[in-house]
Every structure is written in C-alpha cells, then in structure tokens.
C-alpha cells in the first residue's frame, strides 16, 4: 500500500551523490521545468498537495528512472490534463499555433516577484481542538494510508506508522493534505511535531540510542498510546 516516493529508511541507495553541488540549475531545461511548474501552479487550478500527489502517482519505474526535474515535468503534464488545461489531443496532435489572447489567470512577468514573496499560510482558525499537549505520549496509526481516498495522498511516512512517540510542539491547525490533495476541502486539523527515539523507529538497526527523529504529523495520524 505504499508508493514509491515513501522511501525513508529504505536500504540499498548507496552514497549521497553530488555533495558539493553548488549550481542552482545544471541545464537550461531544468530551470525551464521548475519555472513551468511555478507558472502553471499560479494558474490556481490545483494546490500544492495535489501537485505532490501527481508526482507520487508516476509509475514506480518512471519515478525511479526519472531525474528530479523529469519527475516534476511528468507530474505537471499529468495534472495539466487532469485539470483540463491541456488535453491528450493537444499532446498528440499537430501544434495548433498561437491561438487566443493570454488566459487571465496566467502569471505576468511583472507579478513574479510579488507572487514568490507572498506570505501565504497553511494555518486555519477552524477545525478540531488539539487533543494532545507538549510531552504527551502518542502512537501513530498502524498504517500509512489515506482513509478518505484509496491509494490517496498522505504525509505519514510508512517508517513512522504504528510507532510510539512524544509530542514535541504544537503547530496550530493546518490544512490536511489527505483531503486537500483530492480537492475534498482544506479540512484543517491540529498539526504536531512528534519526536520518536531512533530505537522506536528502527529497533536493532538504530545507529545510536540517544538519537531521535521529529516528524510533523496531523492529529488524525495519532492515537492515544493505549489505543
């Protein structure tokens, strides 16, 4: 029930590549791919959770074989078609040529600075009250899965499912990706930073018993430890 992007803790990936990487973009097309993603995102047809889910829905073979910006391009093309901004006929057919006047939703060059500096927020005043306080013990739900949509987007990594942790911080009520990614509404709920010991996550594979890991987890990923 996992998807290929959920790789935290996986064995077999080998050394970290390009550790002294200092180029922002390595090719012109990478820069173009990033800019296309941002410009299309600004059309407002989807949200950040939906765009993440589009990349996660690449086949495992494509996900593993694509470079980073190829994944972005793949996810972008798929979500453009899902959103009816492009059609399969557009992709397959001969170029239609410049047709219409600019779409009113299109991001204008003079607005780029403002759009990238806009201080949005994923916090919402509504939604349930926080059930847990800092220092409370919690247990994550046994399966990292979206309970609204089968195979849907979720932000509980598989390695942290069914584990005991401790509330480290309250972040307030945040938009819930499991709902938002599928256009089921923002459904905000309390978000917590939850601390897990290395031993609780990895058992005998833990590197050092004193180390710990912190994940940001929504309230519906969390249970009372006795539950």
């Amino acid at each position: 029930m996992s998807r290929v992007h959920d790789m935290g803790g996986r064995f077999g990936d080998g050394p970290i590549p390009e550790k002294d990487d200092s180029e922002v973009f390595h090719t012109d097309w990478e820069a173009r791919a990033l800019a296309l993603n941002l410009a299309c995102g600004a059309l407002g047809a989807w949200n950040i959770d939906a765009s993440r889910h589009a990349r996660e829905c690449l086949t495992p073979k494509d996900y593993a074989g694509f470079t980073y910006y190829e994944k972005w391009l793949g996810g972008l093309t798929d979500i453009l078609v899902d959103s009816d901004l492009l059609t399969m006929e557009d992709l397959d057919g001969p170029p239609a040529g410049p047709a219409h006047s600019p779409d009113p939703r299109a991001l204008k060059p003079e607005n780029v600075d403002r759009a990238m500096h806009a201080q949005g927020s994923y916090m919402r005043p509504e939604g349930p009250q926080a059930k847990f306080r800092v220092g409370d013990p919690v247990r994550t739900v046994p399966h990292a899965q979206n309970t609204l949509v089968k195979g849907g987007h979720t932000r509980l990594p598989a390695y942290a499912a069914g584990r005991n942790g401790t509330i480290e911080r309250l972040h307030g009520n945040h938009v819930f990706p499991d709902s938002n990614a599928h256009f089921l509404g923002p459904a905000p709920q309390p978000l917590y930073a939850v601390r897990f010991t290395a031993h609780d996550l990895w058992g005998a594979d833990a590197e050092a018993s004193g180390d710990d890991m912190v994940l940001d987890l929504w309230q519906s990923y969390l249970l009372e430890p006795s539950a």
């Binding site: 970290i16 800019a35 296309l36 779409d103 990594p157 942290a160 978000l191």
Partner: protein
C-alpha cells in the same frame, strides 16, 4: 481526480527531457496559459535573487544579536521576515539550534520540502533517493560522508519535513570569531551548515 492512469499523459510527450520541456512550454504558451517572459523572471529569481546567502544573513544576525536570536527561536517566520525574507515554501519556519549536546539535520523523505526563501532551490544531493532514504535511518553515517565530525556526547536529531513547516538549522558560532563583523560571519556560513550537513569553521589564519 483520477490517480493511477493506465495511460500517463506525460508519456505522450518526447522522452528526451529537453525536448519534453520545450514541447510542454510551447503548448502552454500557445494556449496563453504561460508567458515566456514570466518563465525567465522565475528563473532569474531563483538563480540570482533568492538563495542561501539569505539564510546566512539570518544566522549571522542571530549570532551577533541575542534579542534577534530569541525571536528567531520563538517565531522564526516573523524573525526571518524582519530581514525581508518570506514567501513560497517559507510560510511556516522553525529554527533549531545546534548545541554541544545536540546536532540537527533536516530531510524531506517524502519529496524535497526545503525553505526556499532563505536557502533557495534545494541541491541535487538533498533531492536524491540516497539522502531521502538514509538521513532518517543512519544520520551519523550520512554526516560522516559529508565530513561532519560530531563530538562525544552529541546526539543527533533528524527533522523530517512532512508538513508545510520548514526547518532552519542554526549552526554553532565557531570559536575565535568574536572580532568578525556580521557580514564576515555570514560569509562563513555554508548552505549545508543550515541543513545540518556541514559545520561552520573559523577562517584559517
């Protein structure tokens, strides 16, 4: 929204990524959905205007100004905005302080979440499968690969960016830098030090 297509739209474009991006851009421009000048402005923004020098200014300010440091640890989003850095992928910032007893390391195991307004676009290694899979399970081995030597008694805390909260590691100020100006200090602070895969060293004499 359908999820698992038998026929992914992207496979209808050329497989070479350079041709693919050109084909997609051309379709979108023809439809009036994308202005090529906007793409150039976006590239210029992240190539030249927003990058890790922003974060280094934040850290250097925290080193020289205890009141700013306190505000950074209390509400990093607001403190960072005091220096004019804000926006996309930096909506909810949290600063985590390295100490002699705790070293912090940031990863996004599920994708590549990263604090753009202060560090820019993430480096290739941060987005690699190897970093995403290993940083959370064997952070000490990963740190050793980056040449980071922990001291005895220093535990490691790994922050997996699973929500829209973005983490900034505040490295320890090196010994022997009390005479340096804020801007000289900022020049010492590498991008990797603010992710946790580097330490800040005093300039060699």
């Amino acid at each position: 929204m359908p999820h698992d297509h038998s026929d992914h739209a992207h496979s209808h474009l050329p497989s070479d990524p350079e041709l693919r991006v050109r084909a997609l851009e051309s379709l979108l421009v023809d439809k009036g959905l994308v202005d090529p000048a906007t793409l150039n402005a976006l590239i210029d923004t992240y190539e030249n205007k927003i990058g890790p020098r922003n974060g280094a200014q934040v850290v250097a300010r925290a080193w020289v100004d205890p009141a700013f440091h306190a505000r950074l640890m209390e509400d990093a989003t607001a403190a960072i905005a005091e220096l004019g850095f804000m926006g996309r992928q930096g909506e909810h910032m949290v600063a985590v302080q390295n100490t002699p007893t705790q070293h912090n390391l940031v990863v996004c195991t599920l994708c590549s979440c990263y604090p753009w307004p202060i560090l820019g676009i993430p480096p290739t290694w941060y987005k690699s499968d190897a970093y995403r899979s290993r940083a959370i399970r064997e952070p000490r081995a990963v740190l050793a690969e980056f040449g980071v030597e922990l001291t005895d008694g220093q535990s490691v805390r790994v922050w997996d960016s699973t929500a829209e909260v973005r983490y900034l590691v505040v490295p320890m100020r090196p010994e022997g830098t009390q005479d340096l100006s804020e801007s000289d200090l900022a020049a010492l602070i590498s991008r990797n030090a603010m992710i946790g895969t580097d330490l800040v060293k005093a300039p060699s004499a």
